[in-house]
Amino acid sequence: MKYNSIIIGGGLAGLTSAIRCAEAGLKTALISAGDSALTFASGSIDVLGIRQNNSLVQYPFEEISHLPSGHPYQKLGAGQVKQSLHFFTGQMAKAGIQMSSHGQQNHSRLTALGAIRPTWLSQPGTKALSIAAPAAGLRRVAIINIAGFRDFQPALVAAGMKKHPEFAGVEFTVADINAETVNINARNAYELRSLEMARLLKRDLFSQPKGLTIFASAIQKAAGNADLVVLPSVLAVENGNELISQLEAHTGLHICELATLPPSLPGMRMANALRQRYRELGGLLLEGDEVLSGYFDNNKLNSIKTRLNPSMPLEADHFILATGSFFSRGLDSNQSSLTDKTFNLDVVEAGQREQWSNERFLNGHQHGFSYFGIETNERFNPYQNGKAITNLYCAGGVLGGFNPVAEASAGGVAISTGWFAANQIIAQRSGSSGTAK
C-alpha cells in the first residue's frame, strides 16, 4: 500500500502537516500512538515569548532574527512562520474556532497558577491581557470555582497574580459556586476532572431550558461587579467558547476561562477541531498504532513497520516525523545517551549526563535537555549516521535546537515546522507528475 505522504504523530505538528497535505490533494495517512500534548496544553499558541535573559518579547516575528542559528525559526525565517500561523488560523476557523491575535504583537494569558505568560494566538474564551500592562483597566478580579472541583484553586490563582507588581492595586475576590445552586448531581464531586465536570454540567444543567440563566445568575452573585471573572475551563468541551460568550451576554461580565490540570478542555477542543478538519479533507487517521521502525535505502525512507501490522509495511513517497518530545515518547533517554525511539536518527549533541539539567529543577534557569532533539538540515531533513534522509522531514517537539518552555515557543514551532514540511512535499510533487495510487 502506497501513500504520497505518511505522517507519524498526531499532535499539533502532525495534524497541521496532515491537513496541509490532504488539502493539497495528497493521499495522506496519519499514524499516532496515543493522544498528544494538546490534551494538556492551554489552548493558546505561543510563538516566541521570552528571551534568554528572561525578558518578555513584544513582537515575536521581529525577534526571530535574534535567535541562535540552529533554531527552527531561523531556518524558516519570520515570513514563513507568519504564513504558517495564518494557514493554521484559517483551518481552525473552518473547523469552527475563531482564534485571535493582536496584530503582530504578543498578548498575555493567565495560567491556573496565576502566572502571566506571553502568547500570540488565543481562543475567544481566553481573555487576552495586554503584554506591556496586563492589569490595565482592572480594578477588581473575581476568581470563581465550582465547589468541590479540586483541579482548580482560586486562592492559588489570586496569590500568583498578586506576586506580579502590576496587580498590586487590584482587588481580588475568591468565591465558590455551590453544586446544588446549579443543580449538578455528582457521584463524588471530589473525583471529578474538568472533563467530567463538563459532562455533568451538560447533563444536569445546560440541557435544561433555564440552565444558562441559572449559571449566569450564580456567576453574577459570586462575582459582583468585577472587571474580570476567572473560571476554570470546565464548562464545555466542544462549544465552550460559544457558551462563554453567551454567559457574558447574560451577565454583562467579562469572563475568562483557564485551562486546569489535565485534561485541558481548550486543548482538547483544538485537537478535536483539527482531527475533524483532517477527516473532512479525506485524510486517513490511524490512532492507537505505533511506528516501530523504518526501511531505509540510499538515504531515503521507503516504508515503515507498525506494531499492529508488522508484516505489512506501509510505503510512501514522503514521510514526516512529528512524534513529540520526551513526554510523548518521541525521544527517549538512558543513563548516557539520547535517542529518537522510532528511527534512531542523529540527535543534537547531548554532552555529559551531568550537564543535561540544572541542579534545581525550577530555579528559573534553562535546562540543557530542553534543547535536545533530532538534528536537521535547512530543509528539516534528519540525518542517519551523518547522512541526510531526503524524503523524511521532522517537525515539532521532536526537533532539537530550541527550548519550547523557556522561550514560550512550543505551539508556533510545531505549527510552522509541520506546515513547512508539508509544503516541501507538495512542492516536490507538483514538480513530478506521477501519482501514487
Binding site: D35, R199, P263, L286
Partner: protein, 398 residues
C-alpha cells in the same frame, strides 16, 4: 490462570486522556471512566479486593481508552480482568443466552423461519424484556435456515482446485445468522485465484463470552481454535476472519486476556481486508467494474484497536466509481451483547446518536461497515441498509 502480578497499569501517568475518549463515561456520568475503573482502581483492588467497584459493569470493552492512552496502558483489559477476578459479572440466563452464540445458533438455525417470526412478535419481545431483561425495543438478530458451513460443503470441491489456499474463520454470525459476507469472501478470493478452506471444527472466538464473564468457556474455545489453526495452517497460507472483533480476539486477546498462547500462529491470523489489500498491492487484483454509489464508512471500535481501518479504506478506495465518506470515528453504542440488556438500552442509544445523526445528514446510498453488531445498530436506528466492504468488492467483480 489470570495474570495476577501484572503491574503494567502502573505506567499510567493519570492524565485522564482515556476518559476523554470513553463513550460510556460520556453518555452515562454514573460510570467513573477508564482511569478510575482501570489503573486507579487496580491499585486499590490489589491492596484490598473489597474495594472492587460495582460501576465496572458499565464498561463495554470497546477499547477506545487503549487507543487513546499515550502511555500504552491496557485499560480495557485491566477492567475486564478485574471484573473476572472479583466476581463482577452477573451470569444469569440472559447472559448465558446472549453470550453462547454458537450454542444458540445451532439450536435456532434449524428452525430459523419459526424462530425469526417468533422473535419479531411484540408479545414475545415483551416477554423477553420482562423475564430476561432483553430490551423489547431491540430488533433481534435473525437466523439463517442454511448455515454457512452447509453451503460451503457443496463448494469444497471447487475450492480444492486452487493452488493457493487460506483458512477462513467464519465466526458465529456468518454461520448461523447471515452467511452473506462469507459467500462474498469466497467469491472475491476465488477471483484472485485463492481457494478457501474451513477448519475441521471452530468454536465461537470468545468475544461475547469474555464480555459476559464466561472466561473458562472462552479459554476452552480459544484452546480448541488454536489447535485447529495449527492443523489447518500446515495446508493453507493463513487464517482469515471477516469480523473485526473475532480477529482482534484471536490475535490479540487470547494471550492478553485469556492467557492462551497463540505465538505460533499469531502472525498468520489476518483480518480479511488486510490480507486482500496486501494481495492487491502485490499485483493480485481482479478486474473490477465501477460501482457507482455514494457510501458512508463507519469504523468499528475493535477494528480501530486492531489497526485494520487502513486496509478496509484501501479496498474501498480501490473500487472504481465508489465515493466513500468516512464518518467520525465514534462508537455505535451496541457493543455486541451490551446494548441488548435492558439496563444499558438508553446508554447504548445515546452513545450511537452522533453516528445516526451524521448518517442521516449525509444523504448516502448505503452505510458500509465491517462489523455485524454495528450493522444491526445502524440499521435499527437509521433508514439505511448497511453493507460489508466485501459485499461491495463482490459487486465490482466483472
Amino acid at each position: 490462570m489470570l495474570n495476577l502480578i501484572n503491574t503494567s497499569f502502573d505506567n499510567c501517568i493519570k492524565c485522564t486522556v482515556c476518559t476523554t475518549r470513553c463513550p460510556v463515561a460520556e453518555a452515562n456520568p454514573d460510570y467513573p471512566g477508564p482511569k478510575q475503573a482501570g489503573p486507579d482502581g487496580e491499585r486499590l483492588r490489589i491492596k484490598n479486593p473489597e474495594l472492587y467497584d460495582e460501576a465496572l459493569k458499565h464498561c463495554t470493552n470497546c477499547k477506545r481508552c487503549e487507543v487513546a492512552c499515550p502511555s500504552g496502558v491496557h485499560v480495557g483489559t485491566v477492567i475486564q480482568l478485574a471484573k473476572a477476578k472479583h466476581g463482577g459479572f452477573k451470569k444469569g440466563p440472559r447472559e448465558f443466552m446472549l453470550s453462547h452464540t454458537d450454542l444458540m445458533g445451532s439450536l435456532s438455525s434449524p428452525a430459523a423461519p419459526v424462530v425469526n417470526t417468533v422473535t419479531r412478535l411484540k408479545p414475545v419481545k415483551k416477554l423477553l424484556d420482562k423475564t430476561l431483561g432483553i430490551d423489547e425495543r431491540r430488533t433481534l438478530p435473525k437466523y439463517t435456515g442454511q448455515t454457512f458451513r452447509s453451503w460451503f460443503n457443496k463448494q469444497s470441491g471447487t475450492q480444492e482446485q486452487f493452488k493457493r489456499k487460506i483458512s477462513f474463520f467464519h465466526g458465529c454470525f456468518t454461520n448461523y445468522n447471515d452467511p452473506t459476507v462469507g459467500k462474498h469472501l469466497v467469491s472475491v478470493l476465488n477471483a484472485m485465484n485463492i481457494g478457501v478452506s474451513l477448519m475441521k471444527k471452530e468454536k465461537c472466538c470468545g468475544v461475547p463470552l469474555i464480555a459476559n464473564g464466561f472466561f473458562d468457556k472462552a479459554r476452552k474455545n480459544a484452546e480448541l481454535n488454536m489447535n485447529q489453526f495449527a492443523r489447518s495452517l500446515t495446508e493453507t497460507e493463513c487464517v482469515i476472519a471477516t469480523e473485526p472483533s473475532c480477529t482482534m480476539t484471536l490475535r490479540d486477546e487470547y494471550p492478553e486476556v485469556l492467557d492462551v498462547d497463540n505465538s505460533e500462529v499469531k502472525d498468520r491470523i489476518f483480518f480479511a481486508s488486510a490480507f486482500i489489500a496486501r494481495e492487491f498491492a502485490r499485483g493480485n487484483q481482479p478486474d473490477m467494474k465501477p460501482v457507482k454509489l455514494r457510501v458512508a464508512y463507519h469504523s468499528p471500535c475493535h477494528l480501530i484497536k486492531a489497526g485494520g481501518v487502513i486496509h478496509t479504506m484501501e479496498l474501498l478506495n480501490s473500487i472504481p466509481g465508489l465515493e466513500v465518506i468516512m464518518l467520525d470515528q465514534k462508537c455505535c453504542g451496541l457493543s455486541g451483547t451490551y446494548g441488548f440488556k435492558k439496563e444499558n438500552y438508553s446508554t447504548s442509544q445515546s452513545i450511537g446518536q452522533g453516528i445516526f445523526d451524521q448518517i442521516e445528514a449525509l444523504g448516502v446510498d448505503y452505510v458500509v461497515t465491517d462489523c455485524e453488531s454495528c450493522k444491526m445498530q445502524v440499521e435499527m436506528n437509521t433508514g439505511h441498509t448497511v453493507l460489508h466492504p466485501l459485499t461491495l468488492l463482490a459487486q465490482s467483480l466483472t
